[in-house]
Structure formats: structure tokens, C-alpha cells
């Protein structure tokens, strides 16, 4: 097909803005990876928001079963919260250690994060097992359905996070602080902190509001 360009150079700046800041080109890989992971986290938070919404809709539907104030144990929840918030701190320490290429502090930070995560999961598991044993499992009422799903979804995320954490430690052990390993570490840290933020939501909406009711 013949090229019959006759319009001239009219379209380079058709709106005559004058000053145009030129886009510098593709971002470096570190930025691209972190950005993509942020976008993923946003989508994950949208998913959580559905479970929050379901909880808000169903929390009054106890169908003759217990309500929140009858089953929540604030002492346990307080320990869970402390564990998770502390683990965010130690995860941050591990991130700094990774940036400093310091293996000892990296392993230590990750190990403590892992232990705190496991304690959190153990307490949550015990709470769930206890409720089920008392006949207050998720099939008892719509309220318990929504409760188990929201808290359980967060718990599943923490479990996946622990698996990822162990994989990261193994990666650093085997590959060292390579650029791609560091990028993954950054994503892991983002993930872990995001779970913390979601827990703050769970803590407030489920346990604090629920205990008061």
C-alpha cells in the first residue's frame, strides 16, 4: 500500500500545549516488579473486601446460635494481634538485612517472623477447633459462616505467607542476595505487611465490634 502522507507535521502537538515532559522510557525491573505486585495486592484487598461485606451483611444472622460476644476471647485475639504486628517489624528488619546483604540478620529476622506467624496460626487454629468442638462450626449459622470465611481467608493467606517465607530463606541460602531474589523478597515483605493491615481490619470489624455487641 502506498504511503500518501500529506498531512504534514500537524499531529506532533495538536493541542499546542507547548511544554511536554517527555516520558523517559521503560522503568527498571525492580520498579516494574514491585508495581505489579502492588496491583496484585490491591486485587487481593478487593477480594477481602467481599468477605468483609459478607460478614457485615450476615453478622446478625445467628439463627439461634451464638453471637460474637459469646464466642470471642479477647485475650487470644490480643496475643494474635501482638504476634502479627511484631512479625511485621521483624519482617521489616529482615528486608533491611537483605538490602545490607547481611545473611545473619536476614535469617534471624525471617526466622522470628516465621515463628510469630506460626504462633498466630496455632492460636487461630485452636480457636477454630474449639468452636467446632462446641458445635459452633461454620454450618451452624450464617454469622459463623461469614466469621470462619473471613478470618479463615486471612489465615490461609498467612499460611501461604509462611510457605513463601521458607522458600525465600531457602532461596537466599542457595542463591545469595541476587537481584531477582531481592525483588522477590521485596514482594514478600509487601505481602506480609498487607496481611497485617487486613488483620487490623479483621480485628476491628470482627473482634472489637463483635465483642461489644
Amino acid at each position: 500500500m502506498a504511503m500518501t502522507a500529506t498531512v504534514g507535521h500537524a499531529h506532533a502537538d495538536p493541542h499546542h500545549i507547548g511544554l511536554v515532559i517527555e516520558h523517559p522510557g521503560p522503568a527498571p525491573k525492580r520498579i516494574v516488579t514491585a508495581y505489579g505486585f502492588w496491583v496484585f495486592l490491591l486485587s487481593d484487598i478487593v477480594m477481602f473486601s467481599c468477605f468483609f461485606a459478607a460478614y457485615a451483611v450476615l453478622s446478625g444472622q445467628t439463627a439461634g446460635g451464638p453471637n460474637g460476644s459469646e464466642i470471642f476471647e479477647q485475650r487470644n485475639v490480643a496475643i494474635e494481634t501482638v504476634c502479627l504486628l511484631l512479625s511485621s517489624f521483624t519482617c521489616g528488619m529482615a528486608s533491611i538485612a537483605a538490602d545490607m546483604r547481611n545473611r545473619f540478620w536476614f535469617y534471624l529476622g525471617m526466622a522470628v517472623t516465621c515463628v510469630l506467624g506460626l504462633i498466630f496460626l496455632a492460636i487461630e487454629f485452636r480457636e477454630f477447633a474449639d468452636l467446632v468442638a462446641r458445635g459452633y462450626g461454620p454450618s451452624r449459622s450464617a454469622f459463623l459462616t461469614a466469621f470462619f470465611s473471613l478470618v479463615g481467608c486471612h489465615g490461609l493467606h498467612v499460611s501461604a505467607g509462611v510457605l513463601w517465607l521458607l522458600t525465600m530463606m531457602a532461596q537466599v541460602f542457595a542463591k545469595g542476595f541476587r537481584a531477582d531474589v531481592l525483588r522477590r523478597m521485596m514482594c514478600f515483605a509487601l505481602f506480609w505487611h498487607a496481611l497485617d493491615i487486613i488483620w487490623v481490619g479483621v480485628f476491628s470489624v470482627v473482634y472489637l465490634l463483635g465483642s461489644g455487641a
Binding site: M1, A2, M3, T4, A5, V7, G8, H9, H11, A12, D13, P14, H15, V20, I21, E22, H23, P24, G25, P26, A27, I31, V32, Y35, G36, V39, F40, L42, S43, D44, V46, M47, C50, F51, A53, A54, V57, L58, Q61, T62, A63, P138, S139, R140, S141, A142, F143, T145, A146, F148, S149, L163, T167, Q171, A174, K175, D180, R184
Partner: protein, 676 residues
């Protein structure tokens, strides 16, 4: 023998020979034909020794162009499946007047559920995602998407979903609940079979694939644009891609969560949407449509982008009102989240809520109208060439306006109370989805085919396909509007009202015409492949295009561009061509450099393999296989994370050799144009 039964239940879950519908000849024969066809193709591939080629060049490819082509291939195959369902339904309703027709109710219900599910999730979605994958990195002037391997994972997971839906044809059954599986019908007490499970798991798996594609394309558009490609210089298709993928990222997690809740109800006795224990059915409606309405725009926005490119190119003018187009796109992106309740005005939310959502639904027609006018003004005063893509674009404008107006009509709550769930609604959404999305996909297919394969499609067969399709469309769906006005509800396996009958017969005739259109397109493909030497596109710019995808050869080299293009304004390639007339296309003997490209990876395929196993096992309650699939998926993830070299280098000499050929063609073209 209870012991034997327990072992069987452990090994096979709910699966036994009764799952295969030996008593229903239609799915069995269809399944057998497909199976024979697949086996035939496989045997041919292996016998001809094409397997290594297929494995290295396609299945494990992380090249966005290849993945885009595979997406479109998947969509095309599934279009034939979904189209067969449509033909069966039209015939059923034409004959089932005061009789049972030829499809028993339980089979008919599966067909309309499968038709909707397939057409939305496995035709429209992969088609537009395929086109975005193929074109957007080229238009942005970059070498690949942000996450090439994830891109492959996303495609293969989508393919897994499609595979599971097709398996349901011969092993077990598909949902009988309609394409959105509303509870309480979709709950275990009313749908005890595996149909809903097939539906939900295939959508969960392909939904993950879609989310991955969405994250990938958002990041690509926002972070990988070439030098000088400012936001307001991006081609319109990139803008609509951005909007559409932002919607994917924001909306698909809602679908995932909603289906997860439904599955929890079905598998573990939860009470999200049950009638008992305080479950709330209307919560499902709200959640599913909070995804479902944005989904409509996820599909149609890329189509709008395609039309913008096509109309501008074939009118030989820059797009009219580029900035208003960008604004309209982003406005639709936002408002699309504020209209979901219009899908169930009859729920009884009250007049205030209904009024607000009715008004919001009418407001969203405004930016859409802006777009229509922009296309019309782009054509106004242009030198229009009615090539096949342009025919689809013009056909779209006419068809889509009709569909849009009936949509505004349905947005009036009192009118909706009359027309809710009627054939009028069916006609309306086919009017916008076929007229908008499918015509857009076909326009994009015709327009970018030469870019993907290096030769144009046959124009005569293309035009025939267009005319049969648009004619067939109107003959099929205008009668459905009328039937809806006459009170016919949707999803009827048979009916006794005499006045509906003639319209159903006309619609069936229309379906036949539509089918001829599809056949024309298949013939077009075959004829074009045969005549590919005559149709060869040597310059990479067969349509006298305006954006960067036409600045490289057809098909583009694996690295897309030997040099990262430097963009100076809108219509980047048009600009370059204009300049080239004065300066000769490029400086002589450009200094080529080594190019790093991502390596192929079987990760996507292996992931999909385990996802298929896991999905199938979950549907049939085969728990050991679920665990096996899960372990396999995690192992794949670790192995992928362990790889040491994820890139390879194309040496400068090779880049020079590849680029040189295309440069020569272009130079000769420019010098020819210069003499005119």
C-alpha cells in the same frame, strides 16, 4: 460389599460410569467427534514431527505475540462450541411450540448455561485479551509485557477452564442454572449434581488466569512505555486496554470471592446463600453483579479501542477528539462500578435506590455517546476505505446504537419491571455484546492479522462474512425483541403461545444466516492461507497505519523493535513516516546492540496441567488427587523460582540481519512515495 465401595469412593470420589451420558446421544456424539478430532490433530502433529516445534515455539513461548495468537485461537475454537449451543437453542425454540421439541429440559438448561458461560468467559474474554496481548506492547514500542512468564501462566489457566467446561460434556454434566448460577438453585439442595461444580471451578481457575493477565497489562501500560510515549500520546487502544485491565484487577477478585462462597456452601455446608440458617440470596446477586457489570465494560472497552484505531486508519485521519475519547474511556471505567443494581431492579430495593441506579445507568450512555460522535467526526471529511475492518466498525456503530438505546430503555425501572428476564433483555445484551464485542474482535482480527502472520486476509470472503453476519444478526435478534414485547420470558424449553411461534421461526432462519457468516470466515482463513504469497505484507504496514505496531515488520521479530522507538507525538508512526520522506527512513548503518529477551518456560503449561488435575479432582471429590495437584503446583512454583537464567541474548549481528531486511523494504517504499 461396603469395603469395596469405600475404597472406590476414596479413589474415585463421586466418579463412576453413570457420569458418562450413554443415554444422551447428542453430547456423546459431539464429544466423540471432538475427541477424534483432537486425537487426529495430535497424531498428525507427532507423526509429522511437529511436536518439538509446537513445544518450543508455542506451548512454552513467553512471547506476547505468540500468547496473543494462542488466546485468539482458543477463543475461536470455543466460539464454534458456543455457537453450536446457540444453533441448538434456536432450533429448539422454533420447534418446541406445544411440544417438547428435541431437547429434554435438563439438557436444554445445560445448553443455555454453557452457551452464556462459554461465550463470555472463553470466547469474548480470551479474544480481547489475546488482541491486547498481541498489540499493546507493539503500540507502546516495547519488547514484551511486564511479566512474560506469568503471561503464559495466565493463558494456560484460561485454557484449563475451557478444557474443564468441555470435559463436562461427556463426563458428568454442566450447570443447569444459567450462566451466573444464581442461588438457591445453584445450592447443593437444588443442584446436587456436579454441573455447578464444573461451572464454578472452571471459572475460578480461568479467573486466576484473567487476573494475572490484567495485572500484567496494567503494569505494562503504566510502567513499560517507550521513550517519549507520554500518557496522552498513547494510541486509543492502549487507553482502553488500561481501563479494561484496571477493571479486571478491581472486579475479578469479586467473582473469585463470590464463587468461593458458593463453593463453600456446596462443599462444606456453609450458609452464605442458603435459604436456611440466615443465608442471604440477594447478597449473591449484589456480589455477582458488582463483578458482572464491570465485566461488560471489560469486554467492550477494548472493542472501542479497536474501532478507534480502525476508524482513524481507514479514514486516513487522526482520531477526532482524542482527549475527549480518553476522558470518556476513563469515565466509563469509573461509572461501570456504579450501575450493578440495574440487573435486579425487581429485587425490591425501593424506589429511591432503583431511581439512583436507573439514572447512573443512563449517565453511562453519555460517554459512550461521546465515543460514537468522535468516530463519526473522524470519518467526516476523511478519505474512507471500506476494507473489511472498516466494514465491521461501521456495522458496529449501527448495531451498537440500537443495542445501547434498548439498554437505556431497560434502565428505566418501570419499563424494566415489564421486560425483566424477557426475550427483550436477551435481544438487548446480544445486541451490545455481538454488535460491540464480537464485531470489535472481528475488526481487530482482520486489522491485525497481517501484523501477526505477515499476510493479509482475503477481502472478498471477509466482506461476505461481514454481510452475512450483520444480516443474520438482525434477522435473529429483532424477532427476539418482539417476542419479549409479547411477553415471552427467556430460557423457555417449550411454550404454548401461538403468537411467539413465527418470531422464533424467523430467529432460527437468522441463525442459519449467521452460521453462513461464520463459515465464510473459516473459508476466508483457508483461502488466505492458500494465497498467502499473493497477500504477503512485506513492509509491515499494509493499511498505511498510524501507530507503532506498523513500524516493525510483519510478523515482528521476537524482539519487536531493533531500537526502542522515540516517540514525539500522537500517531507516532504516522509522524515518523512524514519525517522519513524528508530524511530517508533511518540513518545509514545504524549501530545495533545485543538484545536481552526472556527465555521460554514450560511453567505456564505445567501449572495448567496441575490446575486441570486439581480442578477435575475437586469437581469429583477425589481428595488424594487434589492434594497431588496442589503439591505439583507448589513444586512448579519453587522450580520456577529456582531457575538461574531467565533471559538470553540475541547478538547484535543477528539483530542487524533481521532488521536489515525490513528496513530495505521500507526504504524502497518511502523512496517510491517520495517520487509521487
Amino acid at each position: 460389599m461396603p469395603a469395596v465401595r469405600t475404597v472406590e469412593a476414596m479413589m474415585l470420589g463421586k466418579l463412576d460410569w453413570s457420569a458418562v451420558p450413554f443415554d444422551q446421544p447428542i453430547p456423546l456424539i459431539a464429544g466423540a467427534i471432538v475427541l477424534v478430532a483432537i486425537l487426529g490433530v495430535l497424531v498428525w502433529v507427532v507423526a509429522k514431527g511437529h511436536l518439538p516445534y509446537l513445544w518450543h515455539e508455542w506451548i512454552t513461548s513467553v512471547d506476547h505475540k505468540r500468547i496473543g495468537v494462542m488466546y485468539i485461537l482458543l477463543a475461536s475454537v470455543m466460539l464454534l462450541r458456543g455457537g453450536s449451543d446457540a444453533i441448538m437453542m434456536r432450533i429448539q425454540q422454533a420447534v418446541a411450540y406445544q411440544s417438547q421439541g428435541y431437547l429434554p429440559p435438563e439438557h436444554y438448561n445445560q445448553i443455555f448455561s454453557a452457551h452464556g458461560t462459554i461465550m463470555i468467559f472463553f470466547v469474548a474474554m480470551p479474544f480481547v485479551i489475546g488482541l491486547m496481548n498481541l498489540v499493546v506492547p507493539l503500540q507502546l514500542g516495547v519488547r514484551d509485557v511486564a511479566f512474560p512468564t506469568l503471561n503464559s501462566v495466565g493463558f494456560w489457566l484460561t485454557a484449563t477452564g475451557a478444557l474443564l467446561v468441555n470435559i463436562s460434556l461427556v463426563v458428568g454434566e454442566f450447570a443447569r442454572t444459567g450462566w451466573l448460577a444464581f442461588p438457591p438453585l445453584s445450592e447443593l439442595s437444588y443442584s446436587p449434581g456436579v454441573g455447578v461444580d464444573y461451572y464454578a471451578w472452571s471459572l475460578q481457575i480461568s479467573g486466576v488466569g484473567t487476573l494475572v493477565a490484567g495485572i500484567n497489562l496494567v503494569t505494562t501500560v503504566l510502567k513499560l512505555r517507550t521513550k517519549g510515549m507520554n500518557y496522552l500520546r498513547m494510541p486509543m487502544f492502549c487507553w482502553t486496554t488500561l481501563a479494561s485491565n484496571l477493571l479486571i484487577v478491581a472486579a475479578f477478585p469479586i467473582l473469585t470471592a463470590t464463587l468461593a462462597m458458593l463453593l463453600l456452601d456446596r462443599y462444606l455446608g456453609f450458609h452464605f446463600f442458603t435459604n436456611e440458617a440466615g443465608g442471604n440470596v440477594m447478597m449473591f446477586m449484589n456480589l455477582i453483579w458488582a463483578w458482572g457489570h464491570p465485566e461488560v465494560y471489560i469486554l467492550v472497552l477494548p472493542a472501542f479501542g479497536i474501532f478507534s484505531e480502525v476508524v482513524s486508519t481507514f479514514s486516513h485521519k487522526a482520531l477526532f477528539g482524542y482527549r475527549s475519547m480518553v476522558l470518556a474511556t476513563m469515565a466509563i471505567c469509573v461509572i461501570s462500578f456504579m450501575v450493578w443494581l440495574h440487573h435486579f431492579f425487581t429485587m425490591g430495593a425501593g424506589p429511591d435506590v432503583n431511581a439512583i441506579f436507573g439514572i447512573a445507568s443512563m449517565i453511562i450512555a453519555v460517554p459512550t455517546g461521546v465515543k460514537i460522535y468522535n468516530w463519526l467526526f473522524t470519518m467526516y471529511g476523511g478519505r474512507i476505505r471500506f476494507a473489511t475492518p472498516m466494514l465491521w466498525a461501521v456495522g458496529f456503530m449501527v448495531t451498537f446504537i440500537v443495542g445501547g438505546l434498548t439498554g437505556v430503555l431497560l434502565a428505566v425501572p418501570p419499563a424494566d419491571f415489564m421486560l425483566h428476564n424477557s426475550m427483550f433483555l436477551v435481544a438487548h445484551f446480544h445486541n451490545v455484546i455481538i454488535g460491540g464485542v464480537l464485531f470489535g474482535a472481528f475488526a481487530g482480527f482482520e486489522y491485525w492479522f497481517p501484523k501477526a502472520f505477515g499476510f493479509r486476509l482475503d477481502e472478498r470472503w471477509g466482506k461476505a462474512a461481514f454481510w452475512f453476519t450483520i444480516l443474520g444478526f438482525f434477522i435473529t435478534f429483532v424477532p427476539l425483541y418482539v417476542a419479549g414485547m409479547l411477553g415471552m420470558t427467556r430460557r423457555m424449553q417449550h411454550y404454548d403461545v401461538a403468537s411467539w411461534r413465527p418470531w422464533m421461526i424467523v430467529a432460527a432462519v437468522g441463525m442459519a444466516v449467521l452460521t453462513i457468516g461464520v463459515v465464510c470466515q473459516i473459508v476466508q482463513l483457508v483461502v488466505s492461507i492458500r494465497n498467502r504469497e499473493a497477500l504477503r505484507d512485506r513492509t509491515g504496514d499494509p493499511w498505511d497505519g498510524r501507530s507503532l505496531e506498523w513500524a516493525t515488520s510483519s510478523p515482528p521479530p521476537v524482539f519487536n523493535f531493533a531500537f526502542n522507538p522515540d516517540v514525539r507525538g500522537e500517531d507516532a508512526y504516522w509522524d515518523m513516516k512524514v519525517h522519513a520522506q524528508q530524511q530517508s527512513l533511518q540513518r545509514d548503518g545504524p549501530e545495533y546492540q545485543d538484545i536481552e529477551m526472556p527465555r521460554n518456560s514450560p511453567t505456564g503449561f505445567v501449572c495448567a496441567f496441575f490446575a486441570t488435575i486439581m480442578g477435575f479432582a475437586l469437581i469429583w471429590h477425589i481428595w488424594w488427587m487434589v492434594i497431588l495437584g496442589g503439591l505439583g503446583a507448589f513444586a512448579t512454583f519453587v522450580v520456577f523460582a529456582w531457575r538461574d537464567h531467565d533471559e538470553y541474548v540475541i547478538p547484535a549481528e543477528e539483530v542487524a540481519a533481521i532488521d536489515g531486511i525490513n528496513l530495505e523494504e521500507r526504504r524502497s517504499l518511502v523512496s517510491m512515495a517520495g517520487t509521487v
